[in-house]
Symmetry: C2
Subunit: 209 residues, 2 copies
DNA sequence: GCGATAACTTGTCAATGTCTAGATACCTGG
DNA sequence: CCAGGTATCTAGACATTGACAAGTTATCGC
């Protein structure tokens, strides 16, 4: 894809005018991850370019391969991190509110605030879903999605699927701007209102609001 | 329903022994679309290659550009066709059953049976969402999603969003194999069961619970 | 110190998207 | 019937990309 409107030459060893960049970046892996997240927010995972990330980080075009192997390796790392952070988010929401609805709201809030992670996590063809770190993190997040409902008596797995589907669909439709604008631009509020249609008689009273 | 492209000898440029392929393909546009749908089912929209499509159709590498301009043009055509067919599907379901739930089930069935279309339609960064044909078809499909609920008295747009989110989330999670396998592999049946949790007091009550 | 090793660079190659120019078949008007 | 025009397709070229191989430089363990 020669999509770049302007062709910037590959990594220049030194910043223009600044002090010479040290040979070792220091935390290139983290810097490349962050650059990737920025790039994905800007243009989606499909338009991601390893060489562009290298330029953003000020390193040579082949440096990313050293840390991630290849493009799928980078995206696998992003997916794993995303599932880890999602698990933390859902766990906190459940612990702090005891409300199944608030777990769903937290899911939507995560998608909106970690858009790049979220867009990668649910596109398995972009990365390696069987990567151990990915599989572990995904399993943890999944158990937190099903867990709260499994705790309640007479749990039906289809109820959890309904809840997960609702918040997942809302999150993806919101991210893709497929919802009517008159619903406002606050995904969290929208999630709380919309999810109420499903959760209304299945919830403990929330302790926090 | 979308029958494969035939009636044209799929000869490769230097096909050994066969009759020489005619200079004009006959229906190259349709053949390229079908090849693209096949390729997307195999590897996702991100791994789509125009040159690969040209090889599949037995034409030169630049032939696709003549019909679609560029890659985004091809994907725009796929998205437009997808929204058109989705609108037909939803319209039929509503007319034939008069059931919100069955419209939702039809949505999931469409996603499963038109996987390639569906995967493109909801990735606006891959195509040109403002393309007139796309915008028109998308608006038609959207009105059929909101229409049935808007007809009923005291319609709340958030109810429609809840319904759309549920079936959309279920469809995407099913396509990405993110649902527990013990729920079976029939998306239509799963949709009918799961959607019952939301539609239950707005529609014919489902058997369960 | 000093060798081992990790981190990064440079060079290269096949593949891709897109552009330009040219070749070929169809088709309409006379 | 046939001549020119146009739609369709081919051929070539170029910049960009992902991946690989081999070399260079800094850091770390001992």
């Amino acid at each position: 894809m020669p999509a770049g409107p302007e062709a910037v030459p590959d990594a220049v060893p030194n910043d223009a005018g600044g002090a010479p960049r040290p040979y070792h970046h220091g935390d290139l892996r983290r810097a490349l991850m962050q650059a990737a997240l920025d790039a994905i927010v800007e243009g989606g995972p499909a338009n991601l370019s390893l060489r562009d990330l290298a330029r953003r980080a000020g390193v040579s075009h082949a440096a990313p391969a050293h840390h991630f192997g290849d493009k799928a390796g980078l995206l696998s790392a992003i997916a794993a991190e995303g599932f880890e952070r999602l698990a933390v988010t859902l766990d906190q929401a459940w612990r702090q509110t005891g409300s199944f609805l608030e777990v769903g709201v937290a899911y939507v809030r995560f998608a909106a605030s970690h858009r790049a992670h979220f867009e990668v996590m649910f596109r398995p063809e972009l990365y390696r879903p069987d990567d151990p770190a990915v599989a572990r993190a995904r399993a943890a997040a999944r158990s937190l999605l099903y867990g709260p409902l499994a705790d309640s008596s007479g749990a039906d797995p289809r109820a959890a699927v309904a809840a997960w589907s609702l918040v997942h669909g809302l999150a993806t439709l919101w991210l893709n701007r497929n919802l009517p604008p008159q619903l406002g631009d606050d995904p969290e509020q929208l999630a709380r209102e919309v999810a109420g249609y499903l959760f209304r008689d299945r919830d403990r009273p929330p302790r926090a609001r």
